[in-house]
Amino acid sequence: MKRCRFNKRIIDYIEDLMTEQDRFAFENHLKTCKDCEKEVSQIKKIYEILDREEVPMPSREFFEGLKSQIRIKRIPYRLPFWKIFGILAPVLGIIIFIILFNQKGERVIEIAVPISNLTLDEDLNRLLLDKIIDEKIINQFSVLEEYFAPDIEEYLENMNKDEIKDLIEIIDGRYQRFLST
């Protein structure tokens, strides 16, 4: 069903928000439009119904008591979440900072390893980090590795840490002797 174009002005009419001219036009329209007329009377009826209801006012004593109460009574103060977070965030940050810097577990140590080939080998890296071998040996080893490559990879894969260590020491010994001659 097509809605009357005046329909959306009903509230303005009832709430007295129309200009004098619009009001006149609307009232003329009401004489001919049954739908709008019905709606206006329904809304007026609602207002009548609502206006019929009275508010049961408390006694004078209630207000007197309230007047003195408001100076004493405290509303439980609830800190808003963002304020709690604002206070807790820096505290948590400091705690995390202290924990991280007091950790006695593993530490990250930067070691300059010039031979990129060898650093790919986890076992050798581990030996280096554990200070079983030093950088000098690795340098020497790299010279040898170039010499023996690619078989050295295969050998190393089949050895355990101690065997690798022994091998390096043997090779190093021989290398030292080689250099001295």
Binding site: I11, E15, L17, Q42, I43, K45, I46, Y47, I49, L50, R52, E53, V55, P56, M57, P58, F62, F63, L66, K67, Q69, I70, R71, K73, R74, I75
Partner: protein
């Protein structure tokens, strides 16, 4: 700001407690009425009125006198009512709790109004109360509720539309 309100606020800010009493007496009934119409319950309305006045008393010294006092006061009332509704819903009141000598139709009508208003969302209900019962213009109402005039009109329109549906048996 109403001249007298502003004078009373200034006097209170200068330390005169009596000035607050006068403001309290001026607005006590109207605020209680709003709270009652909003909560539909006497106990809740009393509690809310108390909360509102405590907030007003605590914050009046910080009140910016460039604003209208009643706008500020009503805004506190509206916000208190809206947040109150969120955390507390009153117990359902059965028809049997009404005064028995009232004519039956009146009892039923009262209950119907109560149910209808209670079904409205908080903001729509508050806009409707301030507009219909307190007679505020939409511009004032928008300021009190911190919303646009358009939003205030929309809330009112929606409230009325819903009330027509809820109360259709009485029309």
């Amino acid at each position: 700001m109403n001249e007298e309100d502003s004078v009373l606020v200034k006097r209170f800010k200068l330390g005169e407690e009596k000035a607050f009493d006068l403001l309290f007496e001026r607005y006590q009934r109207v605020l209680y009425t709003i709270c009652y119409r909003y909560t539909r319950n006497e106990a809740d309305a009393r509690e809310l009125t108390q909360d509102i006045f405590i907030k007003v008393y605590r914050n009046l010294k910080k009140f910016n006198e460039k604003c209208k006092f009643f706008t500020w006061l009503y805004r506190i009332a509206v916000n208190t009512c809206l947040s109150f509704n969120k955390r507390k819903h009153r117990d359902e009141v059965g028809l049997g709790e009404y005064i028995p000598h009232q004519p039956e139709r009146d009892i039923l009508l009262k209950k119907a109004i109560e149910d209808a208003l209670e079904k409205l969302p908080g903001r729509q209900r508050m806009v409707f109360i301030l507009r219909h019962y307190q007679g505020y213009k939409f511009e004032e109402l928008a300021k009190i509720m911190n919303i646009s005039v358009g939003a205030a009109k929309a809330h009112h329109f929606q409230a009325l539309k819903k009330l027509r549906v809820f109360l259709k048996d009485w029309l």
